[in-house]
């Protein structure tokens, strides 16, 4: 379990570095990069929720509510920004 969590942490760190690198570009102009950055944010959000918070053990309702809110924010930012 601890090794798995450490692996997840390294994945999260890697994705954060990629996001920060993409932020160098003017994402407001290059729309697909906005989607990419928000997509990475969504994956990180779900990894923290399901692995670190152990949401995977919870009832479907809590999983659904968390995923729905996370996806809604990502989609709203992706479409509007």
């Amino acid at each position: 379990m601890e090794k798995k969590n450490l692996l997840i942490l390294f994945i999260l760190i890697g994705m954060t570095q990629v996001s920060a690198f993409l932020g160098v570009f003017n994402l407001g102009v290059v729309n697909y990069l906005t989607w990419l950055v928000m997509g990475l944010a969504a994956v990180k959000f779900f990894l923290v929720a399901f692995v670190f918070m152990e949401l995977r053990k919870a009832h479907f309702f809590w999983k659904f509510a968390t995923v729905l809110i996370g996806l809604l924010v990502v989609v709203v930012v992706g479409f509007w920004a």
């Binding site: 601890e2 450490l6 760190i13 932020g23 053990k57 809110i69």
Partner: protein, 195 residues
């Protein structure tokens, strides 16, 4: 030393890991910050150049570093709960201290960033971008501070009264701490990267 472990079926809708009250708070907080981010991108669409120029005045390196600090701190928090569940109290205490240090580092860096902004005359009334920046990061920082208080209380309880400690108590504190992670993971790209 024994820790009171409870056999809880987390698949029951009323018993998510961390407790139902905490999860109601988490869902409400995520909705609140989600609406804030919605407002941010809405106004960003109205004044794209202003938001782009304002975003460039934020220190992305500090934002990235703070994200990494929260993620590592969250990892330590997860290990704290795991160690406590397995009865390794000393290890749990050490991980909890590292978790709190991560939180303190986040607060320190955020404070430095705030001072940097204030000395550059970038306060809340500067423009709409900075209104959102101050409100959302300030509100988030308040959550981190509350989380730190909960962690200090948990640490004190493990240190002084481990026999009366229940794993579910620490799980609730952990869920609150991870909530700060979740919120920041949405705030960071929205404020520091996309405009």
């Amino acid at each position: 030393m024994e820790i009171k472990a409870q056999n809880i079926d987390h698949k029951d809708i009323f018993y998510p890991p961390g407790g139902i009250l905490l999860w109601i708070i988490i869902i409400l907080e995520l909705i609140t910050f989600g609406l804030g981010i919605g407002g941010l991108v809405y106004y960003g669409k109205l004044e794209p150049e202003l938001f782009h120029q304002s975003r460039l005045q934020l220190n992305t390196s500090i934002g990235t570093l703070n994200t990494l600090i929260l993620l590592v701190s969250g990892y330590f928090m997860t290990n704290t709960v795991l160690k406590l569940k397995s009865g390794a109290i000393e290890s749990a205490k050490k991980y909890l201290v590292w978790t709190m240090l991560g939180g303190l580092l986040f607060v320190g860096l955020k404070s430095y960033e705030y001072v940097e902004k204030l000395t550059g005359d970038l306060d809340m009334g500067d423009n709409m971008f900075f209104t959102f920046y101050w409100l959302m990061t300030g509100f988030h920082l308040a959550h981190v501070l509350v989380g730190l208080v909960i962690l200090v209380f948990s640490w004190w309880q493990i240190k002084t009264r481990p026999r009366s400690l229940q794993v579910t108590d620490l799980e609730s504190g952990a869920a609150f701490w991870h909530m700060c992670d979740l919120i920041w993971l949405l705030l960071f790209p929205s404020l520091y990267l996309i405009f």
